[in-house]
Protein backbone atom coordinates (compact mmCIF):
# COMPACT_ATOMS: atom_id res chain seq x y z
CA UNK A 1 0.00 0.00 0.00
CA UNK A 2 2.80 2.43 0.94
CA UNK A 3 4.75 1.44 -2.14
CA UNK A 4 1.71 1.93 -4.33
CA UNK A 5 1.04 5.34 -2.81
CA UNK A 6 4.66 6.39 -3.28
CA UNK A 7 4.55 5.34 -6.91
CA UNK A 8 1.33 7.25 -7.46
CA UNK A 9 2.74 10.39 -5.82
CA UNK A 10 5.99 10.26 -7.77
CA UNK A 11 4.04 9.75 -10.97
CA UNK A 12 1.81 12.66 -10.11
CA UNK A 13 4.82 14.88 -9.38
CA UNK A 14 6.33 14.00 -12.72
CA UNK A 15 3.08 14.59 -14.56
CA UNK A 16 2.34 17.81 -12.72
CA UNK A 17 5.84 19.22 -13.15
CA UNK A 18 5.97 18.50 -16.84
CA UNK A 19 2.42 19.51 -17.53
CA UNK A 20 2.68 22.74 -15.58
CA UNK A 21 5.90 23.73 -17.36
CA UNK A 22 4.30 23.17 -20.73
CA UNK A 23 1.18 24.97 -19.55
CA UNK A 24 3.18 28.05 -18.55
CA UNK A 25 5.15 27.97 -21.80
CA UNK A 26 1.97 27.51 -23.80
CA UNK A 27 0.27 30.35 -21.96
CA UNK A 28 3.19 32.73 -22.55
CA UNK A 29 3.31 31.72 -26.23
CA UNK A 30 -0.45 32.10 -26.67
CA UNK A 31 -0.34 35.61 -25.31
CA UNK A 32 2.59 36.56 -27.50
CA UNK A 33 5.10 37.08 -24.68
CA UNK A 34 7.30 34.34 -26.09
CA UNK A 35 7.03 32.86 -29.56
CA UNK A 36 5.09 29.74 -30.40
CA UNK A 37 8.25 27.85 -31.24
CA UNK A 38 9.71 28.51 -27.82
CA UNK A 39 6.47 27.29 -26.29
CA UNK A 40 7.03 23.88 -27.89
CA UNK A 41 10.78 23.84 -27.55
CA UNK A 42 11.41 21.40 -24.73
CA UNK A 43 10.43 18.21 -26.54
CA UNK A 44 11.73 19.43 -29.87
CA UNK A 45 15.14 20.38 -28.49
CA UNK A 46 15.55 16.88 -27.04
CA UNK A 47 14.94 15.36 -30.47
CA UNK A 48 17.34 17.77 -32.13
CA UNK A 49 20.09 17.08 -29.59
CA UNK A 50 19.74 13.34 -30.03
CA UNK A 51 19.83 13.54 -33.82
CA UNK A 52 22.94 15.76 -34.03
CA UNK A 53 26.49 14.66 -33.66
CA UNK A 54 28.09 18.05 -33.20
CA UNK A 55 30.74 19.51 -35.45
CA UNK A 56 32.44 22.23 -33.38
CA UNK A 57 32.14 25.90 -34.24
CA UNK A 58 35.84 26.20 -35.13
CA UNK A 59 35.47 23.44 -37.74
CA UNK A 60 32.16 24.86 -38.94
CA UNK A 61 33.75 28.27 -39.42
CA UNK A 62 36.63 26.80 -41.46
CA UNK A 63 34.14 25.04 -43.74
CA UNK A 64 31.87 28.08 -43.95
CA UNK A 65 34.77 30.44 -44.71
CA UNK A 66 35.81 28.29 -47.67
CA UNK A 67 32.22 28.02 -48.96
CA UNK A 68 31.90 31.81 -48.59
CA UNK A 69 34.99 32.24 -50.79
CA UNK A 70 33.31 30.16 -53.49
CA UNK A 71 30.08 32.17 -53.15
CA UNK A 72 31.97 35.41 -53.71
CA UNK A 73 33.88 34.03 -56.68
CA UNK A 74 30.74 32.62 -58.34
CA UNK A 75 28.23 35.38 -57.72
CA UNK A 76 29.94 38.59 -58.67
CA UNK A 77 31.95 39.46 -55.57
CA UNK A 78 30.75 42.10 -53.13
CA UNK A 79 28.29 44.73 -54.33
CA UNK A 80 30.22 48.02 -54.20
CA UNK A 81 27.42 49.93 -52.40
CA UNK A 82 28.78 50.29 -48.85
CA UNK A 83 25.55 51.83 -47.52
CA UNK A 84 23.64 48.80 -48.73
CA UNK A 85 26.15 46.42 -47.12
CA UNK A 86 25.81 48.31 -43.83
CA UNK A 87 22.02 48.29 -43.98
CA UNK A 88 21.75 44.54 -44.73
CA UNK A 89 24.20 43.86 -41.89
CA UNK A 90 22.02 45.87 -39.48
CA UNK A 91 18.79 44.05 -40.47
CA UNK A 92 20.52 40.66 -40.40
CA UNK A 93 22.22 41.27 -37.05
CA UNK A 94 18.92 42.37 -35.50
CA UNK A 95 17.18 39.20 -36.70
CA UNK A 96 20.11 36.97 -35.64
CA UNK A 97 19.95 38.35 -32.09
CA UNK A 98 16.40 37.02 -31.78
CA UNK A 99 17.29 33.64 -33.31
CA UNK A 100 17.83 30.34 -31.54
CA UNK A 101 21.56 30.53 -32.17
CA UNK A 102 22.56 34.02 -31.13
CA UNK A 103 25.85 32.87 -29.57
CA UNK A 104 27.84 32.97 -32.81
CA UNK A 105 28.84 36.04 -34.82
CA UNK A 106 26.97 36.33 -38.14
CA UNK A 107 28.37 38.03 -41.23
CA UNK A 108 26.16 39.51 -43.96
CA UNK A 109 26.98 40.63 -47.48
CA UNK A 110 25.28 41.60 -50.72
CA UNK A 111 26.73 39.81 -53.76
CA UNK A 112 27.00 41.63 -57.06
CA UNK A 113 25.03 39.03 -59.06
CA UNK A 114 21.86 40.31 -60.69
CA UNK A 115 20.24 36.87 -60.45
CA UNK A 116 17.91 36.85 -57.43
CA UNK A 117 18.98 34.43 -54.69
CA UNK A 118 20.21 34.15 -51.11
CA UNK A 119 22.54 31.67 -49.43
CA UNK A 120 23.65 30.66 -45.96
CA UNK A 121 27.05 29.08 -45.43
CA UNK A 122 27.99 27.20 -42.25
CA UNK A 123 29.55 29.37 -39.57
CA UNK A 124 27.14 32.27 -40.07
CA UNK A 125 28.16 33.67 -43.48
CA UNK A 126 24.93 34.93 -45.09
CA UNK A 127 24.61 36.24 -48.64
CA UNK A 128 21.86 37.94 -50.60
CA UNK A 129 22.33 38.96 -54.23
CA UNK A 130 21.82 42.48 -55.58
CA UNK A 131 19.27 40.94 -57.95
CA UNK A 132 17.15 39.83 -54.98
CA UNK A 133 17.56 43.14 -53.14
CA UNK A 134 16.15 44.87 -56.22
CA UNK A 135 13.04 42.64 -56.13
CA UNK A 136 12.06 43.53 -52.56
CA UNK A 137 9.52 46.15 -51.55
CA UNK A 138 10.32 46.69 -47.89
CA UNK A 139 12.43 45.80 -44.85
CA UNK A 140 9.96 43.17 -43.59
CA UNK A 141 10.56 41.19 -46.80
CA UNK A 142 14.33 41.48 -46.36
CA UNK A 143 14.04 40.43 -42.70
CA UNK A 144 11.99 37.36 -43.73
CA UNK A 145 14.60 36.34 -46.29
CA UNK A 146 17.52 36.88 -43.89
CA UNK A 147 15.53 35.02 -41.21
CA UNK A 148 15.24 32.05 -43.60
CA UNK A 149 19.00 32.05 -44.16
CA UNK A 150 19.79 32.48 -40.43
CA UNK A 151 17.50 29.50 -39.76
CA UNK A 152 19.66 27.34 -42.04
CA UNK A 153 22.62 28.23 -39.82
CA UNK A 154 20.80 27.95 -36.49
CA UNK A 155 19.36 24.57 -37.49
CA UNK A 156 22.79 23.51 -38.81
CA UNK A 157 21.24 22.20 -42.03
CA UNK A 158 24.50 22.12 -44.00
CA UNK A 159 26.34 20.53 -41.08
CA UNK A 160 23.81 17.70 -41.05
CA UNK A 161 24.58 17.17 -44.72
CA UNK A 162 28.32 17.15 -44.01
CA UNK A 163 27.79 14.62 -41.26
CA UNK A 164 26.29 12.30 -43.84
CA UNK A 165 29.33 12.79 -46.09
CA UNK A 166 31.58 12.04 -43.17
CA UNK A 167 29.71 8.82 -42.44
CA UNK A 168 30.03 7.81 -46.07
CA UNK A 169 33.76 8.36 -45.88
CA UNK A 170 34.06 6.38 -42.67
CA UNK A 171 35.64 9.27 -40.75
CA UNK A 172 34.85 9.12 -37.06
CA UNK A 173 35.05 12.83 -36.23
CA UNK A 174 35.58 16.09 -38.10
CA UNK A 175 38.13 17.99 -36.01
CA UNK A 176 40.06 21.14 -36.86
CA UNK A 177 43.27 19.08 -37.05
CA UNK A 178 41.60 16.57 -39.39
CA UNK A 179 40.43 19.33 -41.74
CA UNK A 180 43.81 21.04 -41.73
CA UNK A 181 45.85 17.92 -42.38
CA UNK A 182 43.53 16.27 -44.92
CA UNK A 183 43.23 18.80 -47.73
CA UNK A 184 41.65 16.27 -50.10
CA UNK A 185 38.90 15.49 -47.61
CA UNK A 186 38.41 19.19 -46.87
CA UNK A 187 38.13 20.02 -50.57
CA UNK A 188 35.62 17.17 -51.01
CA UNK A 189 33.51 18.51 -48.15
CA UNK A 190 33.57 22.01 -49.68
CA UNK A 191 32.76 20.71 -53.18
CA UNK A 192 29.78 18.73 -51.93
CA UNK A 193 28.54 21.59 -49.75
CA UNK A 194 28.88 24.05 -52.63
CA UNK A 195 26.93 21.71 -54.94
CA UNK A 196 24.14 21.42 -52.39
CA UNK A 197 23.94 25.10 -51.50
CA UNK A 198 24.51 26.71 -54.90
CA UNK A 199 23.40 24.09 -57.44
CA UNK A 200 21.09 21.33 -56.21
CA UNK A 201 19.69 22.87 -53.06
CA UNK A 202 19.21 21.35 -49.63
CA UNK A 203 16.44 18.86 -48.91
CA UNK A 204 13.00 20.32 -49.55
CA UNK A 205 12.03 19.70 -45.91
CA UNK A 206 14.99 21.77 -44.70
CA UNK A 207 14.01 24.66 -46.98
CA UNK A 208 10.43 24.58 -45.75
CA UNK A 209 11.67 24.41 -42.15
CA UNK A 210 13.87 27.42 -42.78
CA UNK A 211 10.83 29.31 -44.11
CA UNK A 212 8.77 28.58 -41.02
CA UNK A 213 11.56 29.21 -38.51
CA UNK A 214 12.98 32.23 -40.35
CA UNK A 215 9.62 33.96 -40.45
CA UNK A 216 9.33 33.31 -36.71
CA UNK A 217 12.74 34.95 -36.15
CA UNK A 218 11.72 38.05 -38.13
CA UNK A 219 8.42 38.16 -36.27
CA UNK A 220 10.22 38.00 -32.90
CA UNK A 221 12.01 41.23 -33.86
CA UNK A 222 8.59 42.72 -34.51
CA UNK A 223 8.44 42.74 -38.31
CA UNK A 224 5.23 41.89 -40.14
CA UNK A 225 5.40 38.10 -40.45
CA UNK A 226 4.05 38.25 -44.02
CA UNK A 227 7.28 39.70 -45.48
CA UNK A 228 8.77 36.51 -46.93
CA UNK A 229 5.35 35.24 -48.03
CA UNK A 230 4.53 38.47 -49.88
CA UNK A 231 7.82 38.36 -51.76
CA UNK A 232 7.27 34.69 -52.70
CA UNK A 233 3.76 35.48 -53.90
CA UNK A 234 5.18 38.01 -56.38
CA UNK A 235 8.12 35.76 -57.19
CA UNK A 236 5.86 32.85 -58.19
CA UNK A 237 5.22 34.57 -61.53
CA UNK A 238 8.96 35.01 -62.23
CA UNK A 239 10.48 31.79 -60.89
CA UNK A 240 11.95 30.82 -64.22
CA UNK A 241 13.97 34.06 -64.19
CA UNK A 242 16.48 32.54 -61.77
CA UNK A 243 17.74 29.07 -62.55
CA UNK A 244 19.74 28.86 -59.32
CA UNK A 245 16.82 30.00 -57.18
CA UNK A 246 14.54 27.47 -58.90
CA UNK A 247 17.08 24.66 -58.48
CA UNK A 248 17.93 25.44 -54.85
CA UNK A 249 14.49 26.14 -53.38
CA UNK A 250 11.03 24.51 -53.51
CA UNK A 251 8.35 26.14 -55.66
CA UNK A 252 7.12 29.52 -54.47
CA UNK A 253 3.43 28.52 -54.48
CA UNK A 254 4.02 25.58 -52.15
CA UNK A 255 6.11 27.77 -49.84
CA UNK A 256 3.40 30.42 -49.76
CA UNK A 257 0.76 27.83 -48.88
CA UNK A 258 2.73 26.47 -45.94
CA UNK A 259 3.78 29.92 -44.74
CA UNK A 260 0.17 31.05 -44.76
CA UNK A 261 -0.68 28.23 -42.33
CA UNK A 262 2.27 29.10 -40.04
CA UNK A 263 1.47 32.80 -40.03
CA UNK A 264 -2.19 32.17 -39.17
CA UNK A 265 -0.98 30.90 -35.77
CA UNK A 266 0.92 34.12 -35.00
CA UNK A 267 -1.26 36.60 -33.16
CA UNK A 268 -0.74 39.35 -34.02
CA UNK A 269 1.22 38.62 -37.22
CA UNK A 270 1.29 42.25 -38.26
CA UNK A 271 4.11 44.68 -37.59
CA UNK A 272 6.17 47.36 -39.32
CA UNK A 273 6.95 46.87 -43.03
CA UNK A 274 9.37 49.83 -43.18
CA UNK A 275 9.04 50.39 -46.93
CA UNK A 276 10.28 53.97 -46.64
CA UNK A 277 13.39 53.01 -44.67
CA UNK A 278 14.12 50.27 -47.23
CA UNK A 279 13.78 52.75 -50.07
CA UNK A 280 16.00 55.28 -48.32
CA UNK A 281 18.85 52.82 -47.75
CA UNK A 282 18.53 50.68 -50.88
CA UNK A 283 17.05 52.69 -53.71
CA UNK A 284 17.73 56.35 -53.00
CA UNK A 285 21.10 57.82 -53.93
CA UNK A 286 23.38 58.40 -50.92
CA UNK A 287 23.19 61.86 -49.32
CA UNK A 288 25.83 64.31 -50.59
CA UNK A 289 29.12 64.35 -48.71
Amino acid sequence: MKIRLALMISGLIALTGCGAGKFVGGALAATGVVDERTGKAIGASDNLTNAMKPIGFEEEKSIGGAVALVALSRFGGLDPDQRLQKYVTAVGTAVAQFSDRAAIPYHFAVLGSKEPNAFACPGGYIFVTRGLIDQLNDEAELAGILGHEIAHVSEKHALKLIRKMKMLGGTAEVTAAYLDTNPDAFDKIIDETVKSLFEKGLDKDKELDADRIGVDYAHRVGYDANGLKDFLNRWAAHESDSKTMKNTHPGAKERVGLLTKSIEKMKPATGPRLAERYKTWVKDPPPPG
Binding site: L5, I9, L12, I13, T16, G17, A20, G21, V24, G25, L28, T31, G32, V33, V34, T38, G39, A41, A44, F57, E58, K61, S62, G65, A66, A68, L69, V70, L72, S73, G77, L78, K86, A90, V91, T93, A94, Q97, F98, D100, A102, A103, I104, P105, H107, F108, A109, Y125, E139, A176, L179, D180, P183, F186, D187, G222, Y223, G271, P272, R277
Partner: protein, 159 residues
Protein backbone atom coordinates in the same frame (compact mmCIF):
# COMPACT_ATOMS: atom_id res chain seq x y z
CA UNK B 1 -9.41 -4.76 0.71
CA UNK B 2 -6.61 -2.41 -0.31
CA UNK B 3 -7.42 1.27 -0.49
CA UNK B 4 -5.61 3.90 -2.55
CA UNK B 5 -5.22 7.57 -1.62
CA UNK B 6 -8.45 9.54 -1.60
CA UNK B 7 -9.35 11.60 -4.69
CA UNK B 8 -9.39 14.73 -2.50
CA UNK B 9 -5.82 14.06 -1.36
CA UNK B 10 -4.66 13.64 -4.96
CA UNK B 11 -6.47 16.81 -6.01
CA UNK B 12 -4.80 18.82 -3.23
CA UNK B 13 -1.44 17.35 -4.21
CA UNK B 14 -2.02 18.30 -7.83
CA UNK B 15 -2.75 21.92 -6.90
CA UNK B 16 0.26 22.06 -4.57
CA UNK B 17 2.67 20.97 -7.28
CA UNK B 18 0.98 23.00 -9.98
CA UNK B 19 1.54 26.06 -7.77
CA UNK B 20 5.22 25.25 -7.41
CA UNK B 21 5.73 24.61 -11.10
CA UNK B 22 4.02 27.87 -12.07
CA UNK B 23 7.24 29.66 -11.07
CA UNK B 24 8.64 28.67 -14.50
CA UNK B 25 12.18 29.30 -15.58
CA UNK B 26 13.22 30.77 -18.90
CA UNK B 27 16.63 31.42 -20.47
CA UNK B 28 18.19 34.55 -21.91
CA UNK B 29 18.34 34.25 -25.70
CA UNK B 30 21.20 36.67 -26.51
CA UNK B 31 24.16 38.30 -24.79
CA UNK B 32 23.71 41.74 -23.33
CA UNK B 33 19.99 41.24 -22.66
CA UNK B 34 18.89 44.04 -20.35
CA UNK B 35 17.06 43.56 -17.05
CA UNK B 36 15.13 46.80 -16.50
CA UNK B 37 13.39 48.32 -13.51
CA UNK B 38 10.20 48.96 -15.51
CA UNK B 39 8.30 47.09 -18.23
CA UNK B 40 9.28 49.74 -20.73
CA UNK B 41 12.16 50.52 -23.12
CA UNK B 42 12.80 53.64 -21.03
CA UNK B 43 13.31 51.68 -17.81
CA UNK B 44 16.69 51.89 -16.10
CA UNK B 45 19.03 48.98 -16.82
CA UNK B 46 19.58 47.00 -13.61
CA UNK B 47 22.06 44.61 -15.22
CA UNK B 48 22.97 43.01 -18.54
CA UNK B 49 22.69 39.25 -18.79
CA UNK B 50 24.66 36.66 -20.71
CA UNK B 51 23.14 34.21 -23.17
CA UNK B 52 21.75 31.14 -21.42
CA UNK B 53 21.24 32.85 -18.04
CA UNK B 54 18.31 31.21 -16.24
CA UNK B 55 15.61 33.56 -14.94
CA UNK B 56 12.60 32.77 -12.75
CA UNK B 57 9.30 34.10 -14.05
CA UNK B 58 7.28 36.20 -11.61
CA UNK B 59 4.55 37.51 -13.93
CA UNK B 60 3.73 38.62 -17.45
CA UNK B 61 3.13 42.32 -18.07
CA UNK B 62 2.20 43.10 -21.66
CA UNK B 63 5.07 42.13 -23.92
CA UNK B 64 7.43 42.06 -20.93
CA UNK B 65 8.13 39.36 -18.37
CA UNK B 66 8.80 40.19 -14.72
CA UNK B 67 11.62 37.94 -13.57
CA UNK B 68 13.98 37.29 -10.70
CA UNK B 69 17.60 36.63 -11.56
CA UNK B 70 20.76 36.73 -9.46
CA UNK B 71 18.88 38.24 -6.51
CA UNK B 72 17.37 41.06 -8.59
CA UNK B 73 13.80 41.47 -9.77
CA UNK B 74 13.08 43.36 -12.96
CA UNK B 75 11.66 43.16 -16.46
CA UNK B 76 12.92 41.58 -19.70
CA UNK B 77 11.36 41.97 -23.14
CA UNK B 78 9.54 38.65 -23.69
CA UNK B 79 11.04 37.84 -27.09
CA UNK B 80 14.50 37.93 -25.50
CA UNK B 81 13.60 34.86 -23.45
CA UNK B 82 13.50 31.25 -24.52
CA UNK B 83 12.15 28.11 -22.87
CA UNK B 84 15.08 26.05 -24.06
CA UNK B 85 18.62 26.84 -22.97
CA UNK B 86 20.58 28.23 -25.93
CA UNK B 87 23.67 26.36 -27.05
CA UNK B 88 26.68 28.47 -26.12
CA UNK B 89 28.85 26.67 -28.70
CA UNK B 90 32.38 25.54 -28.00
CA UNK B 91 33.70 29.08 -28.21
CA UNK B 92 30.33 30.78 -28.26
CA UNK B 93 30.53 32.20 -24.75
CA UNK B 94 33.80 33.97 -25.43
CA UNK B 95 32.76 35.12 -28.89
CA UNK B 96 29.36 36.39 -27.96
CA UNK B 97 30.53 38.05 -24.74
CA UNK B 98 32.68 40.45 -26.68
CA UNK B 99 31.08 40.45 -30.11
CA UNK B 100 28.85 43.36 -29.16
CA UNK B 101 31.95 45.38 -28.33
CA UNK B 102 33.26 44.67 -31.79
CA UNK B 103 36.28 42.60 -30.97
CA UNK B 104 37.11 39.10 -29.94
CA UNK B 105 40.15 37.02 -30.70
CA UNK B 106 38.09 34.41 -32.48
CA UNK B 107 35.63 36.75 -34.17
CA UNK B 108 38.43 38.91 -35.54
CA UNK B 109 40.66 36.04 -36.48
CA UNK B 110 38.69 35.92 -39.68
CA UNK B 111 39.28 33.22 -42.23
CA UNK B 112 40.85 30.19 -40.58
CA UNK B 113 44.24 28.96 -41.82
CA UNK B 114 42.39 25.93 -43.22
CA UNK B 115 40.10 28.19 -45.28
CA UNK B 116 43.10 30.26 -46.42
CA UNK B 117 44.91 27.12 -47.56
CA UNK B 118 41.76 26.09 -49.45
CA UNK B 119 41.81 29.45 -51.23
CA UNK B 120 45.43 28.94 -52.18
CA UNK B 121 44.90 25.37 -53.48
CA UNK B 122 41.83 26.35 -55.47
CA UNK B 123 43.23 29.59 -56.86
CA UNK B 124 40.58 31.83 -55.32
CA UNK B 125 41.20 35.44 -56.37
CA UNK B 126 42.82 37.72 -53.75
CA UNK B 127 39.89 40.11 -54.20
CA UNK B 128 37.46 37.37 -53.09
CA UNK B 129 39.63 36.54 -50.06
CA UNK B 130 39.69 40.26 -49.20
CA UNK B 131 35.89 40.37 -49.62
CA UNK B 132 35.31 37.63 -47.02
CA UNK B 133 37.64 39.45 -44.63
CA UNK B 134 35.77 42.71 -45.25
CA UNK B 135 32.49 40.93 -44.62
CA UNK B 136 33.83 39.56 -41.32
CA UNK B 137 35.01 42.97 -40.15
CA UNK B 138 31.74 44.76 -40.89
CA UNK B 139 29.67 44.71 -37.71
CA UNK B 140 26.62 46.42 -36.34
CA UNK B 141 27.37 47.37 -32.72
CA UNK B 142 24.87 46.87 -29.90
CA UNK B 143 24.21 50.64 -29.82
CA UNK B 144 23.62 50.73 -33.59
CA UNK B 145 21.16 47.83 -33.38
CA UNK B 146 19.34 49.47 -30.47
CA UNK B 147 18.99 52.71 -32.45
CA UNK B 148 17.92 50.74 -35.54
CA UNK B 149 15.18 48.97 -33.58
CA UNK B 150 14.04 52.19 -31.90
CA UNK B 151 13.77 54.08 -35.19
CA UNK B 152 11.87 51.19 -36.78
CA UNK B 153 9.57 50.73 -33.75
CA UNK B 154 10.77 47.14 -33.54
CA UNK B 155 11.64 44.83 -30.65
CA UNK B 156 10.85 46.36 -27.27
CA UNK B 157 10.07 49.66 -29.03
CA UNK B 158 7.09 48.13 -30.87
CA UNK B 159 3.84 50.01 -30.41
Amino acid sequence: MKRGPSPLFLLLLLFAFAGTAAAASLYVRANGTELKDKASPGGAVLTKLDIGTKVDVVAKEGSWVKVTVKGKTGYIFGQKLSEDKPDKERFGGAVAATASEGDSALALRGLSPTSEKYAERNKIKPSDIAAVKEMEKRKATADEIDRFLREGKLGEYAQ
